[in-house]
Amino acid sequence: MTAFIIRRLLHGLVVLILVTILIFFAMRLLPGDPLLIYLAQRSQALQDLPPEVIEQLRHEYGLDKPLPVQYINWLSGIFRGDLGDSYFYRQSVGNLLRERFPITVYLGILALIISIIVGISAGMLAAIRRGKWLDNVVTPLTYLGVTIPIFWLGILMIYIFGLKLQILPIAGFTSPFVDFSLSTRQLIMPVICESIFGIASNARQMRSSMLEVIRQDYIRTAWSKGLGERVVIFKHAIKNSLIPVITLIGMGVSFIFGGSVLVETVFAIPGVGRLFVSGIFNHDYLVVQGITMVMAVVVLLVNLIVDISYGWLDPRIRYG
C-alpha cells in the first residue's frame, strides 16, 4: 500500500512537471504582448507610458530573458513558495490566489457535498423504487441534468428567482464571516449550477450500479434470509454500489473547476475561475500558470485518494 502511494506520488510529480512545461510554453505562445495589453487598459485613464517604461517593466518581470531561463526562474520560485507577480494586477500571484482560491474551494466543496449526498440518495431511491413514480420523476431529471448548459441554467435562475420573483440576490459574493445569511443566499444559485451535473451523473450511476448489485447472489441471499429492506440496502447494497460512483466523484472535482469558470462569470463571483478567464484574456502569464499548477495538484491528489478508497470499499482490489 505504501509502495503504491509512493509510486503514485512520483508519477504525479512527473505529470506535474510536464504540466508546468505545457502551461508555461502555451502561455508564451499566446499572440500579443502582455505589457501592451496592460498598457491598453491604462491609456484610457489618461496616463501614458513611453516605450522605455514598457522595456523597463519587461526587465523587471524578467520577460526579456530567454524562455528556458524564465521557465527555470519560475519553477525555482515555486519551490521557494513564490509564484511570481501578476502583470495585470501588479501584485504577487500568491496573494491573488490566497484571496481567490478559498472562494472557489468553498463553492466547490459545497457543490461537491451536495452532488454526492443528493445524487447518491436520489439514485438509490430510484433504484429501490424502480418503475415507481419516484423513479419516473428522478430518472428523467438526471437525463436533463447532464445535458443542461450550466451558464444557461444560471441565466434561467437569475431571470426567475432574481428578476421575476426577486427572492434571491442576483450576483456577487460575500464572505460568510461578514454576513452569513446574505452569503448563503448569494450562494444558492451558483452552487446549484455547479452541482447540477454532479447530482445528475452521480444519481444515474448510483441507480444503475445499485440495480446491478441488487441482482447479485449475495443480495438475493440476504433477502431470502428474511433480512429487512433497510438492512439489506444499507449494509450490503450501498457499499458495493459506490465504487463506480467514487470514480465519478474523483472526476467531479475537475468538472466542478471547469464549471466554476462559467458559473463565476455568470454570477460575478471573484474566484479563481473568473481570474483564470481574465488571466487568459489579459495574457497574465503567471496568474494562469499559478492557477493551473494548484489545480493540477488538487486533481492529482483527489485521484490518488479515490484510488486508495477503492481498496476500502472493495477489499478484493489489490494495489499491484
Binding site: 499572440p31 498598457l39 491598453a40 491609456s43 501614458d48 513611453p50 426567475i160 460575478a268
Partner: protein, 534 residues
C-alpha cells in the same frame, strides 16, 4: 415510454414558464405601469430641495476595474485614485481646465516655465502637509519612473516658496498644464516610512476619502477623511464599490435596491432604468467610436483616399445610432461630438449616401466591389455587425475578425511596440472624449499616444501643421479656432470614419444625489454626493 413522457412534460412546463415570463416583459406598458415594489418611483421630484445631508454609505456598482490601488509610480491608483486623492487640475462639465490642488498656474512661453501656485491648508490623510515639496516629490517620482507625459521636456523643478513650484521646460506648449497638472498627489512621508511595496496597495492621498480595504475585481471600501480641505465635505460617511461585470445582474441589483449608484452603465441598461423611473446622468462626454483603415502600410489599398471616402458614405450612422443607441447615441459627422470645443456647427462632409459610395468605389477601380477584413472586439461587435451590412450593400465584402481583447489591443494599438497592426479595417474606440485639443493630439497627432499608428499614412501636411499650431497656441479663443480647424482637417484627410459617441451614464437609486460623472468620465469626484435620509 414513461421516461419520454416525463421529459416531454418537463420540457413543456419549462417552455410554458418561459412563455409566461416572456409575455410579462414584452408588454412594456404593463411593467412601467406597475413597477416592482422595490424600485419605487423616485420621490425626489415632490420633496423640496433641502440641500445636502450628511451621512450614509454609498453602494456603487462598477462594471470593471479595481485591479490595483496604490500610488502612480507603481501604476496603481488607476481608478480609485479619483476618490482618495486630488490632482493639481481638474475639468469642469464643459471641458474647461479648472484649478484643484493648484490655485492657479502661470505659463511663460518666453522662458519656457510653468509655475504652480498651490492650495494652502491641505493635509494628507496621514496628517502631513501638502506643499510644494510634496508636489515636487510626486512629480519627480513620476519623472524618475517615466510615468509622466512629456517627462523628457522637464529640465528642473524648483521650489520657490512653500506653496509655489516652478517647472523649467525645454519647450512649453499649450498642453503642458494639462499634462503636468494631471498628477495625483500622494503623501511622500507615508511612502518613505512604509516603503515602496507597501505603497503599491496603500494609497495615502488628500481625500476626500481614504481606503479601508479592497479586493481586486471584487470591492473597494472607502471611508470619509474628516480633515478634507473643502470644509463640510464629503457628505458621505463612506463608499462601497462593488465590481459587477455583468450588466444584467447590475441592473437587477439597482432595481432590487441592492445598490445606490451604477457608474458607467451601458446605454441600454441606463435607458431602461431611466424609463422605470431611475434618475440617470448622461455625461456630456463619453466614448468615441470610429472606423479606421490601415494607411500606414504603403501597399494598403486604403491609401486611396477615394476608398476611405466611400467607406464614410456607405455607413448609415444615424441609422446605427437609432438602432443601437436607445435614443442616446450621437451619430458623429466629425471627430468631435456636438457641444465640444472642436465641433464645427453644421459640418457634415459625408452624409450617408450608398450611391455616392458605389460611385467612388468605381472611380477607385473597384466597380466590382472588394473584399476586406474588419477587426473588432467584443465591445464593438455590434457596431461591426451593422457596419458589415452597410458595407455589403455597396459592394464591400468585409469579413469580421472578432478578436479577444488581448489580440485586439495588440493589433489595434499597432506600431507602438512593433505590433503587426490591423491589416485592413478596424472598428474601435478612442478616448477622444476630451473635448479639447489634447484629445485630438493624443489620438490623431503625429505620434499618437494611444498607438493607433495604422492610420498615419493618411495624415496630410496640413493636418500635421495644425497639430503643431495646437501645441503653440496659448490664447484660449485662438486655441478653440485651431481645434475646430484640426477637426475639419481630419475629415478632409478622411483619416477616420467617425461613427458614434456613446454616452457615459450613471444611474442613481431614489434619494441619491450625485453629479460626479457629469463632468468627465476620467474625472469623478464623489465629494459632493449625498443620500437623502429616509
Amino acid at each position: 415510454m414513461k421516461i419520454i413522457y416525463s421529459i416531454l412534460v418537463i420540457t413543456l412546463l419549462l417552455t410554458i414558464a418561459m412563455a409566461g415570463c416572456a409575455e410579462k416583459t414584452t408588454t412594456p406598458a404593463a411593467t412601467s405601469a406597475s413597477p416592482p415594489a422595490s424600485s419605487a418611483a423616485p420621490s425626489v421630484t415632490s420633496t423640496a430641495p433641502t440641500g445636502p445631508q450628511s451621512g450614509g454609505t454609498l453602494r456603487i456598482i462598477r462594471n470593471y476595474g479595481v485591479t490595483n490601488v496604490g500610488y502612480p509610480p507603481n501604476d496603481g491608483g488607476m481608478e480609485q485614485g479619483q476618490d482618495v486623492t486630488r490632482r493639481l487640475i481638474n475639468w469642469d462639465e464643459k471641458g474647461n481646465v479648472v484649478p484643484d490642488l493648484a490655485e492657479s498656474w502661470k505659463e511663460d512661453p518666453v522662458n519656457n516655465t510653468l509655475t504652480w501656485n498651490l492650495r494652502k491648508g491641505v493635509k494628507f490623510v496621514d496628517g502631513t502637509d501638502f506643499n510644494a515639496e510634496a508636489a515636487k516629490w510626486n512629480m519627480e517620482r513620476l519623472i524618475d519612473t517615466k510615468r509622466l507625459t512629456e517627462a523628457d521636456k522637464v529640465k528642473s523643478l524648483d521650489i520657490i516658496d512653500t506653496y509655489t513650484l516652478k517647472m523649467s521646460l525645454t519647450d512649453l506648449n499649450s498642453q503642458a498644464a494639462i499634462n503636468y497638472g494631471w498628477v495625483a498627489m500622494y503623501s511622500p512621508a507615508a511612502v518613505k516610512a512604509n516603503g515602496e511595496e507597501w505603497a503599491k496597495t496603500h494609497p495615502v492621498g488628500v481625500g476626500p476619502f481614504t481606503l479601508v480595504d479592497w479586493s481586486p475585481d471584487n470591492f473597494v471600501n472607502l471611508k470619509k477623511f474628516d480633515n478634507y480641505f473643502v470644509k463640510g465635505t464629503p457628505y458621505l460617511d463612506g463608499i462601497n464599490f462593488r465590481v459587477i461585470p455583468d450588466p444584467v445582474s447590475a441592473s437587477a441589483m439597482m432595481e432590487a435596491g441592492q445598490a445606490d449608484l451604477w457608474f458607467d452603465a451601458p446605454t441600454k441598461f441606463a435607458a431602461d432604468l431611466e424609463k422605470k423611473g431611475f434618475k440617470v446622468n448622461w455625461a456630456v462626454t463619453g466614448f468615441f467610436w470610429g472606423l479606421f483603415a490601415n494607411t500606414a502600410n504603403p501597399d494598403s489599398k486604403w491609401n486611396n483616399k477615394k476608398l476611405r471616402e466611400a467607406l464614410e458614405y456607405a455607413i448609415d450612422r444615424p441609422g446605427m445610432a437609432r438602432a443601437l443607441g436607445y435614443g442616446k447615441f450621437e451619430a458623429l459627422t466629425q471627430v468631435a461630438p456636438k457641444g465640444s470645443t472642436g465641433y464645427n456647427d453644421g459640418y457634415d462632409p459625408r452624409p450617408y449616401n450608398p450611391e455616392k459610395a458605389r460611385q467612388l468605389l468605381a472611380e477607385a477601380g473597384y466597380s466590382k466591389g472588394l473584399q476586406t477584413t474588419l477587426l473588432c472586439s467584443a465591445m464593438s461587435q455590434d457596431y461591426a455587425t451593422a457596419i458589415q451590412a452597410n458595407l455589403l450593400a455597396v459592394g464591400i465584402d468585409a469579413k469580421i475578425d472578432l478578436a479577444d481583447f488581448a489580440r485586439f489591443n495588440s493589433m489595434y494599438m499597432s506600431g507602438f511596440f512593433g505590433g503587426e497592426g490591423f491589416p485592413e479595417l478596424a472598428v474601435g474606440m478612442v478616448g477622444i472624449d476630451l473635448p479639447f485639443a489634447t484629445g485630438l493630439i493624443r489620438h490623431f497627432g503625429p505620434t499618437p499616444m494611444t498607438g493607433i499608428l495604422s492610420i498615419n499614412g493618411a495624415k496630410s501636411p496640413e493636418f500635421l501643421a495644425l497639430c503643431d499650431k495646437l501645441y503653440n497656441t496659448f490664447d484660449s479663443a485662438e486655441l478653440t479656432k485651431v481645434t475646430k480647424q484640426s477637426v475639419k482637417q481630419v475629415s478632409e484627410d478622411a483619416l477616420v470614419v467617425p461613427l458614434l459617441k456613446t454616452p457615459w451614464a450613471s444611474v442613481m437609486a431614489p434619494g441619491v444625489h450625485d453629479d460626479s460623472s457629469t463632468a468627465h468620465n476620467v474625472v469623478w469626484n464623489l465629494n459632493n454626493s449625498w443620500i437623502e435620509k429616509k
